[in-house]
Symmetry: C2
Subunit: 329 residues, 2 copies
Amino acid sequence: MHDISILTEADLRELVPLDAAAVDVVERAFTALAGEGVVMPPILSMELPVANAEVDVKTAYLPGFDGFAIKVSPGFFDNPKIGLPSLNGLMVLFSARTGLVEALLLDNGYLTDVRTAAAGAVAARHLAPEVRTAGVLGTGVQARLQIEAARLVRPFERVLVWGRDPVKAEICAYDLAERLGIEVVVEADPARVVGESQLVVTTTPARDPVLRAEWLHPGLHITAMGSDQPGKNEIDPAVFDRLSVYVPDRESQCRTQGELRSALAAGAVPEERTYAELGMVVSEPALGRKSLDDITLVDLTGTGAQDTAIASFAMTRAKDRAAGTVIRA
Amino acid sequence: MHDISILTEADLRELVPLDAAAVDVVERAFTALAGEGVVMPPILSMELPVANAEVDVKTAYLPGFDGFAIKVSPGFFDNPKIGLPSLNGLMVLFSARTGLVEALLLDNGYLTDVRTAAAGAVAARHLAPEVRTAGVLGTGVQARLQIEAARLVRPFERVLVWGRDPVKAEICAYDLAERLGIEVVVEADPARVVGESQLVVTTTPARDPVLRAEWLHPGLHITAMGSDQPGKNEIDPAVFDRLSVYVPDRESQCRTQGELRSALAAGAVPEERTYAELGMVVSEPALGRKSLDDITLVDLTGTGAQDTAIASFAMTRAKDRAAGTVIRA
């Protein structure tokens, strides 16, 4: 018998807002991931064609963290037809010393939203040195959160939003302006978003590129976070030819699920080339951007390391504030 | 927001005893597993050498079941040094229609014990036609539960127990006699256990065979449940040469984790041979034992299908009896 903390989405929204501390803990996850002693098995993925659904399970053990999280992310894409969100899920935090369950984080995907946006902020902090205008392609939850997270590390005063659906783009721009108190403009032409921004985040579920090589310009940093599955692709493979530095969150995952997968498939990069991962660039800036004119791309597929970090962080905050419900089991 | 049921080990021990109903639901899991529309991804396995630990995640979607379980089984093998059990874990039951979390089954491995023993009973029911004496190699929790489960389907009056540690064998025999009210005898020679039994269950973590080919005799049925990882091996590969029928719980898993793995490695069976799985034998008895003199072996590596079945069963019983705690999340 031992105590298990149960934290609901409401608890977690209060305990873990998207803030500088969340960005820092996710940065720590990336540096740990780039170091020794990490264990991050491949994602367990179960497709359920009969329900138009997919379930992913991620985990990672990170030295320096007392626990490890196992995250289950069900995506049931017909849910909106019955008034439910597509994405759900929970994280379970285990002691890395005994394997006992420490906490059940019933977050319905909220912590994933935070740790994903925080990774974008880590990328911006280390690869986007000067941002006056930030651009975002896509109009969903991550479009909002990525811009919000980037602004924690870069105090830009203008945001450009592009989306396939102009109404959704308007709502996204309205929400962002409301939240950040800065100028947010809908731009109908994605080429102009990229052309006028020093930082562009792509946040779409695109299966064909939404960001083209001819739009690149010196100094641009791109964070691509939409591709997390074979079949998804936001970045024109020809972009790779013009990059100064390409940085995967986890190279092995990006090879099969990220923008690197599409670039490899198109023959845009040699199979045998290897890359410094985000955590290596954090620890050793010389592996990243070398000049203000460099063009850089960070490819975020989402790692179990981030889940372990954000779940541990949530648990620490919950303990400090005696939040949630405790059950003996 | 929706309701989630939380059931502790104590709740689950009361709701899901090892009984005929548990055997039946696990049998249904095997027939579903042998049918169309099943999705059972490979096990996600994370080794943590730094903690002398391993964490496994299993899942399966089975047509005919309203939910699917994701089971996390941490094994932390230094835990006994600090007075904790090595094996722990929980199951999470999701709706197969919406992906929403329906129940958290904080069973510390109890449901795994039940569904593993129940699989042994399914094997005995379909492949061990006449059992006067049952033998067990091994003296742990499964040694007890496998014999208890087998007795639900075959009313034998005598049990022989062998274990490497004679004291543990005595305690196991005592417990079994107490529980079943029949004669249970410790036998120092495993050859005699096998020679005098019509059903033998092997329940050890052996890495070298504990059951030798020269001990086989007509009519014998063996259920081997100890090997669930590459490296484990209870059954002498030469046994395969003398078998009338070999039945894996899941062929793909047995090839990498079961007794079949060792037999293949030893060259005892041809690589290209395929086998009828347990669920196929249940549905079509002609695929199993053909005469009372046949020698048969069922290889149990443990399947996510059993987890989904037992978790669904636990949830149904919990609803019927309004057991557990409900949380809105």
